[in-house]
Each structure stands twice: as C-alpha cells, then as structure tokens.
C-alpha cells in the first residue's frame, strides 16, 4: 500500500493537536493560502465528528445545563462591574492621572516632612534608667512602636537621600578632575610634540620679569632682526655652517661660572654664532660651587636688568638667542643657565658679546620631567657688574 502523502499526515497531526507551536503556526499559514489543504482538514474534521458520533450515546443530565446557567450568571455579574470600571477608567483617564499625581505629591510631602515630637523615639538611656514603681523624675512614656518605626523609616530615607546626593556630588567632582587631567595631559603632549619638531620654530623674547614693559612689546633692533633671520636660515639648513673663527673663553673666572664650557664662535655675514649644545662644546670643569650669578643663589629681582629684550626661538630641543650691544655692553660675558623643573640649576656655558651681533644656541629640554624647564641668561660686564637678561621657561597652559 502506498504511503500517505505528507499533507494528509500534517493535517491529521494538526487535527489531533500534535503539532508543535511553530509547526502549528506554519501549518495555519499554509492553511490560509491553500483551499485544497483547508478542504483536506475539513474532511478529517468530518471524520473526527464521525468518531465522536461513534461513541456510545449518553444523555447529558439536566443539572449540567443548570450549572452552566449559574456559571454564566456569575460570570456576567463579575464581568459587568469590571467592564464599567474599565470603561470609566478610559473615559476619565485625566482624573486617574490627576489622582496618581496627587498620590505622588502626598507621598513626597510625607517623606520630607519634619519628624513630629510624638514620632521621635525616646533616648535609649532614658528608657533603661526607668525603674518600675519609682515615681521620681519625669514620667517616662514608652514610644509608640508604630510612630517609632515611621520615624526610623523617615530618618533612614533622609539619610539615604543625603548619601545619594553626596555620592552624586563626589561623582561629579571626580568626573571633572578626570576631565581636567585628561586635558592637561593632552596639552602637555601637544606642546612637547610641537617643541620636538625640528622644523617648527617657536619665537619668544627674553625680558626681565621686573621689567616695566611686556617682552613682546619691546622693539628688536635691526641688527638683531638680521641676526635672527640668519640664525633661522642656519637652523633650517638653508646656509652651510661657516668654519670656526675663534674659541671664546671667559676673560676672568669671575666673569664665568666654574663649570663653564669653551664655546666655538663662527662668524657669518657679520654675525657671531656660538653653539653651546653638548655636541659642539667641551666641558672643561665639572661644577664645584655655584658661581656668582647662579640663579639658585641670586634672586633675579635683586639684579639690574637689561632694558631691551633678548629675541630668540626654539627649534626642536634647541634655544637660539640673539644679542647685540643694545642688550648688553660689548665685551660682556653672557652665561647661560638651565634650571630644572625641580629648581636645580646647571650651567650650560658662556659666550662673549663682541661688537657684532651674537647668536647663541643652547640646549633646551622640552620635557619638564627630563630636567628641562627654563633657560636663564646673565651678563657680566667688563667692569664686573652682573645683570639679569631674561628667562625663558617651559610653560604648560592647561586646556579649557
């Protein structure tokens, strides 16, 4: 006998309620689309009716219908008030919303109201001191447990509320600090990156902090302007470096710090160039004692200062400074100091200013964590006077 086709099997399983929920949904979808499948199911339903009719006939007892009527009456009684309630709810939705709002306000008032004396729990010490039968002292009344519980609830709620507010404030402050640290770190990184770029020049002017005019407003002499342009050209490699012309040495030990280095001077287009960077200098002495003019020993404000600013620029890890006789008298010994972020001063070297404009290159650390920080320049005139020329420091400006 041939096997029955799949649709009949599925239809029979559908009729007998043997399909899984997923299969049933799928079958019902197909049922809606296929008239033949509907007819097949209809036929099988007829068979089920026949099977039901094949059961031995029994007459349903009369009381079954009586019970059905009673159940219907009961259901109608419970359904009508419910229907009326829900109909009224929908009709009076605004009233319901207002009731909810009022309830919420009532709760808020109850939660925030001050504790009444009646609801304040009696001190424990007072209660423990009470002795039955002794009438001395104030009459002690035991707190109402309901009021006590209510007061405890209120105080707990308030405590919780205040703790939550504190936590919120602390979280906000922590967030602000985190943002500030991130901004500072970003700014520092940006500045270090900018300064370490050899091709990027950052211009500045050194001036005495006690000077009456801002450094940027002090005019620069024509000779200094020309010297700076030449220095830039050299720094950027536009002009070949000239051969060393002479080796400068301080005239007297008083004019230079003990750890001064010899510096090689070259002249190019009427401008003397002195390079005090480590690769171009030979340290003659190790520092023994802070010399006169050490910014660690002498306060800059105690010294005379130049009326003119020292122009310069930062190129990578170098500071290039230009001097001429408008800044210091000819023959002055210029000493350069580096003061670290932590206040430790170290001599970089010295150079003698002649009649020509002088351009001095000094190392300049852009990282405050690597000992860099600032460059300070002092001058010693031929008659022994010490004066302060200016200071350039790595400044970190916090971001917004």
């Amino acid at each position: 006998m041939p096997e029955l086709p799949l649709p009949e099997e599925e239809a029979a399983r559908y009729l007998l309620d043997e399909l899984s929920p997923g299969e049933r949904r799928l079958f019902e979808t197909r049922l809606e689309q296929s008239a033949e499948l509907r007819a097949l199911v209809g036929e099988l339903e007829e068979a089920a009716v026949a099977l039901s009719k094949a059961s031995p006939q029994k007459r349903a007892p009369r009381e079954v219908w009586t019970r059905i009527e009673q159940a219907l009456a009961e259901e109608t009684r419970t359904r009508r008030p419910l229907q009326r309630f829900w109909a009224g709810w929908w009709r009076n939705g605004w009233a319901a919303a207002a009731a909810c709002l009022f309830g919420w306000l009532l709760y808020a008032w109850w939660a925030d109201r001050p504790a009444s004396p009646a609801s304040t729990p009696a001190p424990v010490a007072l209660a423990t001191n009470a002795q039955p039968g002794i009438a001395s002292g104030p009459q002690i009344t035991m707190p109402n447990p309901a009021h006590q519980a209510q007061a405890e609830n209120t105080s707990t709620f308030k405590l919780l509320q205040s703790r939550t507010q504190e936590l919120g404030t602390l979280s906000w402050q922590l967030l602000q600090l985190t943002n500030r640290i991130a901004a500072l770190s970003q700014t520092l990184t940006q500045q270090q990156a900018l300064l370490s770029e050899a091709s990027r020049l950052k211009f500045f002017q050194l001036a005495s902090p006690a000077g009456p005019v801002a450094a940027s407003a002090i005019p620069v002499s024509t000779n200094l302007q020309r010297a700076l342009v030449l220095a830039m050209a050299r720094e950027l490699g536009w002009t070949p470096p000239a051969a060393p012309a002479s080796t400068q040495k301080p005239a007297t030990t008083d004019q230079a710090p003990a750890n001064s280095v010899t510096s090689t001077s070259t002249n190019q287009a009427g401008v003397d160039f002195v390079d005090l960077r480590p690769a171009n200098t030979n340290t003659t002495d190790q520092p023994t004692s802070p010399p006169r003019g050490d910014p660690g020993n002498v306060a800059a404000s105690d010294l005379a200062s130049s009326s003119n600013a020292v122009p310069g620029f930062i190129s990578g890890t170098n500071a290039i400074l230009a001097f001429d006789t408008s800044i210091a008298p000819s023959g002055s010994v210029l000493t350069f100091w580096n003061t670290s972020f932590y206040g430790r001063s170290q001599s970089i070297g010295s150079a003698v200013l002649g009649d020509n404009p002088l351009v001095v290159s000094v190392p300049f650390s852009t990282s405050v964590f690597q000992g860099g920080g600032n460059v300070t320049v002092f001058g010693n005139t031929t008659n022994g006077a010490l004066f302060f020329l200016g200071q350039y420091s790595t400044s970190v400006t916090p971001g917004p």
Partner: protein, 206 residues
C-alpha cells in the same frame, strides 16, 4: 477513485456536500454568531442540539460521568467566551465545538497519573475503549449508528491507534513505543482510519 476524491474536495471547498449537512451547519454558524453577541438562548439551543453528542464523547474519553459533566460545563462556558473567535471559513461549527471539548478532556487526562507502565496502560486503555456491541440507547440516530458501524469495521490495527490518539490524547510516538510498531506505521494507520471514517460519512450522506 482519485477523481471521486477530487470532486469531494471541491464540493467541500464550495461548502456544498449535497446532503442535509449545509442546513444544519448554517444553523450552527448562526447560533455561534448569536452566542458571540451574548445571546444566552442561542447557547441553550446549541446545548440542546449537541449536548448529548458532546456528553457521550466526554464520557467515552474520560470514562467518568462526573468528570465528563464538569468538562461539559467548562466546554459550554468556553464556547460562550470564544464564540467570537470562530471562523466559518476555517472549520465546521460542530468540528470546532468537538475539538474544544476534546482539548478540555485531554487536559483532564494529562492531569491524571503519568503513564508509568506503558504496556499496562495501553491494555487498560484498550479495554476501556471497547465499543458497546449490544443494543444502543439512541439507535434512532442513524448517523451515529453509521459512524459506529464504520469504526467497528475498521481493522483493529487502524481502529486502536486512532481511538487512542483521538479519544485519549496519546501521541503517535507514545503509541509506537507501547505497541512496538514503527512510528511511520502508526502514523499511516491513523491517517487511514480517519480517511475510512470520512469515507463512511460521505457514503452515508450519499
């Protein structure tokens, strides 16, 4: 044979089986529509018309008259609540009612003790399903007699799985495990039993 079956399918699709069924069916559809409109006399009319049939089926399924009465009550309450869901395009009204009653009865059966000894349970179920062979109380119902006769004429291997599946809610897998027969065989026998009953019904109406 195939042509005749196709014609039957087509006539069912057109809702015209050429016998007295359409009138009874239209009356049932009308009653269900009225019940959906909360017409309690319509429910009473439906009860008068099909109450005995449903009660007979429930007693046969549950083998307990008191439980059958409870399920009968639940069935008519369910009809009252779900009449608005009935779709005449999807099924005949009497089939829909019978399937509702069957579902409630199966819930009762499933709530009973689990079938721990499948073989013993199978034999007990078969014994309880034995059809009455003596004179029937309502033999004036010729259609019911014809259906019973058709069921009696079915070979036992078809009749038993069909009755277990329809009247006791046994799944095909459960029957296959209890009888030791392959699942496909059980499925095929149940289909053939249903189709044979459908044919008997068709013959009666013809």
């Amino acid at each position: 044979m195939e042509l005749a079956e196709n014609q039957t399918v087509q006539s069912l699709v057109n809702n015209d089986s050429g016998d007295s069924q359409p009138a009874a069916r239209r009356e049932d559809v009308r009653l269900l529509a009225s019940i959906a409109e909360r017409d309690q006399p319509a429910l009473a009319a439906l009860y008068r018309k099909h109450g005995d049939l449903l009660y007979s089926l429930l007693v046969r399924m549950l083998s307990d008259e008191m439980e059958a009465q409870e399920v009968m009550q639940d069935t008519f309450l369910l009809i009252w609540r779900r009449a608005h869901q009935y779709d005449p395009e999807r099924s005949a009204p009497l089939s829909w009612i019978i399937m509702l009653a069957r579902g409630l009865a199966l819930d009762r059966l499933r709530a009973r003790a689990r079938r721990e000894n499948r073989q013993a349970a199978y034999q007990r179920e078969l014994a309880s399903l034995e059809l009455e062979t003596g004179p029937r109380r309502n033999d004036h119902d010729e259609l019911a007699a014809a259906c019973a006769s058709a069921l009696n004429r079915l070979p036992e291997p078809q009749s038993r799985p069909l009755q277990l599946a329809f009247l006791r809610g046994w799944t095909h897998e459960e029957i296959a495990r209890a009888t030791g027969e392959p699942l496909g065989t059980i499925k095929a026998r149940i289909r053939r039993g249903l189709l044979a009953l459908r044919q008997a019904l068709k013959d009666y109406h013809a």
